[in-house]
Amino acid sequence: MTQITSEADTKTFEPLAARGAPTRQIGPLNWLRKNLFSGWLNSLTSLVLIGVLLWVLPVMINWLFLDAVFRGNGEVCRQSAGACWPFIYEKIPVLMVGVYPQELIWRPAVAGVALLALVYLTFSDRIRGFVLISAWLALPLFALVMIGGAFGMTEVNQSLWGGLMLSILLALVGVIVSIPLGVMLALGRFYGSPLVKALCIGFIELIRGVPLITILFMVSVMMPLFLPPEMIINNLMRIQIGMIFFSAAYMAEVIRGGLQAIPKGQTEASLALGVSPNRTILFVIVPQALRHVLPPLIGRCIALFKDTSLVIIVGLLDFLGMIKGAALDPDWLGFQTEAYFFAAFVYWLICYSLSRYGRALENRGPNGAKR
């Protein structure tokens, strides 16, 4: 025990002066200071980025709008330093439907309007459940009838289908057929007997292990060798089958993730209530699993739509193929940048809206923040 011997050893506690209340940090200047200029490194980064933007943005805006030509022909465009938009206007029909007969163009247009209407109804959440699913199942059939011609309408050969119509059709049919196929593969891999399981795993892993191009080569070159000569499947159909197989393998893996996420209690409860195992899987497990994996399924749809661009390598003229063709038109030579820019914009618009929709579903789904 120490004794306090002198006055000097004792100290009285003196609190520091209280700090003032923090000043309100709002207003544009404070926002700038907080988000762009906090610390020297941040400030330097901001300055460099602002410099780059000041350099790039005017160039872009000039090319896209200010110097661009909006009316005229190739000659007028060549005089100007900006983009040539008349080129795109003129090519729009070809880009949308390819070499589809001009006088029948209203038919794919009707199918397109139906698609847009259904997309609007789905995105705005006007239709749900059974109506939603049956509408989406009916749409590709309707589109195929309209485009291909049946019930007395003039038939249009499949070799004439092209453009954005073909890209969307390949993706749409691909997604709609590959989801049930993917569910079957996933169920086979998850619940199947050893032989079925091995077959499903083999199929899924083989397809996921190789690039889509090799599968497209396989269906366009090898499939005719596999089938008897009298069974002729045209090139478009073969490629569609290839895309479906490819997509199904990826869908199966996504859906398997959903199957794994369903708690065991669901199965047990259903079995305890006397529901048969098959019905349990079909009506209890699968619907819940699909609900769980809706966002990644949308992601697969986006991927499949992007992948349809590969069909030009095996000789179909989809949207990108038509863009490539348009860029080589002798009347409009030298405007390939505009063509590819337009292509990028269209792909981006479609994929980005889909991914926004996927994100919206994520928020309202079983793992979402709401609910």
Binding site: N35, L36, S38, N42, T45, S46, L49, I50, F190, Y191, S193, P194, L195, V196, L199, L206, G209, V210, P211, L212, I213, T214, F217, M218, V221, M222, P224, L225, F226, L227, P228, P229, K264, T267, L271, P277, T280, I281, I302, K306, D307, S309, L310, I312, I313, L320, K324, Q336, T337, Y340, A343, A344, Y347, W348, C351, Y352, S355
Partner: protein
């Protein structure tokens, strides 16, 4: 896996019999389908006069290849041409994996940056690249490289001996001169010493708790020793500068525009995906972890290295494994811009002799092997960062 409990019974009950029967039926269906396809293929190949078997691999290829890592001319065999393709695929994949990882980390870190502008721009980059087909990105980079770079005659010279033109990028080629062998041996010795220093530093830290800068020390040892060896052997690395002759450059190391476009497109595309993995990894680390470490007075570098990184990697690595595998598969899009990768060379072989089945089987075998190697390597890495559970 199966979570549907099966009814157990001692005798061969109806259910078991049914299961055996079902399996047998599946087997019969699969085998007969395979037999049907095999029969058709045989008949079709005979009818078209296409040979089968891998004997064609030994025949003279007669196809020219623009880019090759190994000595190649059209008199070599098909098998050798295919090997050139495999090597090209591997080269572009390995380079693209390295570069897209670096760019992806930068993008991911930029997306969570405090700097509003940087984060926005990184987000725009990711949303743009992810929502445009890779094929379009590749064609875009290709036409930009071909279209905006000048003819070799007016090539842009960045440094002495480095040229940018629409025939590709030309850089001086390093050439081994006298004493190169000794220099390489010295460099190997130096790296062995550097690595053993790093290992020792780690063990020393385990034993005593005292920090020895193992990585920096190792690097310093390597730099000093190789530098000394470089001087002692009298600058053993010469260079052959590219020169413009006639219509194109000769000499030096040339990277063809197709290769540069493919590499750039793959790197830009994959970096957007890896950036997202990095971002979700960083965001998965609970803010409380970082705050707790800061509150304990841990230096910020150490917080990043020992608190944030190990937890973020747990999320980032599995997702990135898939992106690496996709990258290797995506490199097959080389066929669209004319870079002679395995698929492009294989496609030409199919065009020449029609032996599609063999070539496609070879593609599949190579891609499956590469993918297995990637997932094996990444699983090793992953097992080191995952939490060890009982």
């Amino acid at each position: 896996m199966s979570s549907i409990p099966k009814i157990k019974s001692k005798s061969l009950s109806g259910q078991v019999l049914w299961a055996v029967f079902a399996q047998g039926a599946v087997l019969v269906v699969v085998l007969s389908a395979a037999y049907f396809l095999f029969q058709n293929t045989q008949a079709n190949l005979d009818a078209k006069g296409i040979k089968s078997g891998f004997a064609f691999l030994g025949h003279e290829a007669g196809l020219p290849i623009g880019d090759s890592l190994i000595e190649y001319n059209p008199t070599k065999s098909y098998g050798y041409a295919f090997l050139v393709g495999i090597l090209n695929t591997l080269m572009v994949s390995v380079l693209a994996i390295i570069l897209s990882t670096i760019l992806g980390i930068l993008v991911g870190v930029a997306r969570v940056s405090n700097n509003w502008l940087l984060a926005r721009l990184a987000a725009i980059y990711v949303e743009t690249l992810r929502n445009i087909p890779l094929l379009l990105t590749l064609i875009f980079t290709y036409i930009i490289i071909i279209g905006s770079l000048p003819h070799p005659r007016d090539a842009i010279s960045l440094f002495d001996g480095y040229f940018l033109s629409n025939r590709g990028i030309y850089i001086p080629k390093p050439i081994a001169e006298d004493g190169f062998g000794i220099f390489i041996i010295a460099a190997i010795v130096a790296s062995v010493l550097a690595i053993s220093f790093g290992v020792w530093a780690k063990q020393y830290k385990r034993r005593t708790g005292r920090l020895v800068p193992g990585i920096w020390g190792g690097l310093a040892i390597f730099a000093v020793l190789t530098g000394l060896a470089f001087l002692a052997t009298g600058n053993p690395i010469g260079s052959e500068t590219p020169e413009f002759r006639g219509f194109n450059f000769s000499g030096g190391l040339g990277l063809k525009p197709e290769f540069v476009a493919l590499l750039t497109g793959l790197v830009l595309y994959t970096a957007a995906y890896i950036g997202e993995n990095v971002r979700s990894g960083i965001e998965s680390v609970h803010a409380g972890q970082i705050e707790a470490a800061n509150a304990l007075g841990v230096p910020s570098g150490v917080v990043t290295r020992l608190v944030m990184l190990p937890q973020a990697l747990r999320v980032t690595i599995p997702a990135t494994t898939n992106d690496y595998a996709s990258l290797v598969k995506n490199s097959s899009l080389a066929v669209a811009i004319g870079f002679p990768d395995m698929v492009s060379i294989g496609g030409t072989i199919i065009g020449q002799n029609g032996q599609a089945i063999e070539v496609i089987a070879m593609w599949m075998a190579v891609y499956l092997t590469i993918n297995m190697l990637i997932s094996f390597g990444m699983n090793l890495l992953n097992s080191r960062v995952q939490i060890v559970e009982r």
